[in-house]
């Protein structure tokens, strides 16, 4: 089993132009890559003997719209987000430098190798004006519903997805509720109140 720096090195040797940043927090390796390399990197992670990432555990997204900003007015609870600096005694740690680019969204993939026990988190920055990345359904079939959920909640399109429609919300729903600019009090009931 490779340690995290070796995983980074292996990936960096193969895709020197793709990698934007790497960090490791509490033993979990994270790599941020350019979106145009996503399918190549994904196939490499699945097929390369050093990785053999045969399990796409999770696929989600992050909206960095208000990252690091204090909300206006007084808020009882808020989490504006900070770059995490883990303490030095934790093995294998490389601090998170914060979002790799100024892009609004990041799509996050969690890979696991059932054969080697490796874990890797892959992040892809997605710009706000054309939120689209390649679909991973040709590589891992389990990406299908995950990507539909990300489309539903964040409005990020997945190029090449066979059936990209809402999975949690109803078809009549307007907007994408987990975007930070979706009004927190907005309600879209399907059927109206009685009387």
């Amino acid at each position: 089993m490779l340690d995290n720096p070796s995983l980074f090195d292996l990936l960096h040797q193969r895709f020197p132009a793709a990698i934007l940043s790497t960090h490791a927090h509490r033993g979990d390796a994270t790599v941020t890559i350019r979106s145009e390399y996503l399918l190549d990197v994904a196939r490499f992670l699945r097929d390369e003997p050093g990785f053999r990432m045969n399990f796409l555990m999770d696929l989600t997204a992050v909206d960095y719209l208000t990252f690091g900003q204090k909300p206006p007015g007084r808020a009882a609870h808020f989490n504006a987000g900070v770059a995490v600096r883990p303490p030095a005694f934790i093995q294998d740690q490389i601090p998170w430098p914060g979002p790799a680019t100024g892009a609004r969204f990041e799509v996050v993939y969690h890979f696991y190798s059932l054969e080697t026990g490796h874990r890797l988190r892959l992040k892809v920055p997605v710009e706000e004006d054309s939120p689209q990345v390649d679909s991973l359904t040709p590589v891992w079939a389990s990406a299908d519903w995950f990507e539909r959920e990300v489309w539903d909640m964040f409005g990020i399109r997945f190029k090449g997805h066979p059936n990209l429609k809402r999975i949690l919300m109803y078809e009549e729903f307007q907007g994408h509720p987990l975007r930070k600019d979706y009004p927190v009090n907005r309600r879209q009931p399907l059927i109206g109140p009685i009387n």
């Binding site: 919300m169 879209q188 399907l190």
Partner: protein, 169 residues
């Protein structure tokens, strides 16, 4: 003859109320974690059969009490409304758990803020989840209400009956 009703019909209505309240056929519309507490209530330890409500029917056509158990989302709301409409009169609705009463701790884009915004509710049983004793108390409140329905007596003034709160007529 004496007042609004005569002797025969008032006794008949009392008998109908008595018969109905001890032969509740419930439709459990179970969507979330409250379902576990519903099952606990329905099983032998608390034995909802003591109240004549031991036979859940899984067709709304055969049921007369709709138990709405668990969070109702806006996506699910039309389904619930359809189930309610499919039930034949007389019918009653029990809001089981605080999510069905008010939305509970959910206040977001997905959740209906209380099922009484889409269908009329007879008994509210709040709790997250309500304990079986609380459910049984609510069931007995419902039985009182069923008994009163054709008695000719006016309903208690409070529109909101919920378990744990007694009312008198």
């Amino acid at each position: 003859m004496f007042g609004g009703e005569n002797f025969v019909t008032s006794k008949l209505n009392a008998a109908i109320g008595w018969a109905r309240k001890y032969s509740i056929f419930q439709y459990p519309f179970v969507t979330a974690c409250c379902g576990m507490e519903y099952m606990a209530t329905a099983c032998s330890h608390y034995d909802v059969d003591r109240f004549g409500a031991g036979l859940p029917r899984f067709s709304p056509r055969q049921a007369d009490v709709l138990f709405v158990v668990g969070t109702i989302s806006h996506k699910m709301a039309p389904v619930l409304k359809t189930i309610y409409d499919q039930m034949t009169e007389p019918k009653w609705v029990v809001a089981f758990g605080v999510c069905t009463c008010t939305g509970g701790f959910y206040d977001n884009y997905a959740t209906v803020m209380g099922i009484d915004t889409i269908i009329p509710v007879d008994i509210y049983i709040p709790g997250c989840p309500p304990r079986p004793e609380y459910v049984l108390d609510g069931l007995m409140k419902l039985q009182e209400k069923i008994q009163l329905q054709h008695s000719g007596k006016p309903y208690p003034k409070a529109q909101m009956y919920h378990a744990g709160q007694s009312f008198s007529v």
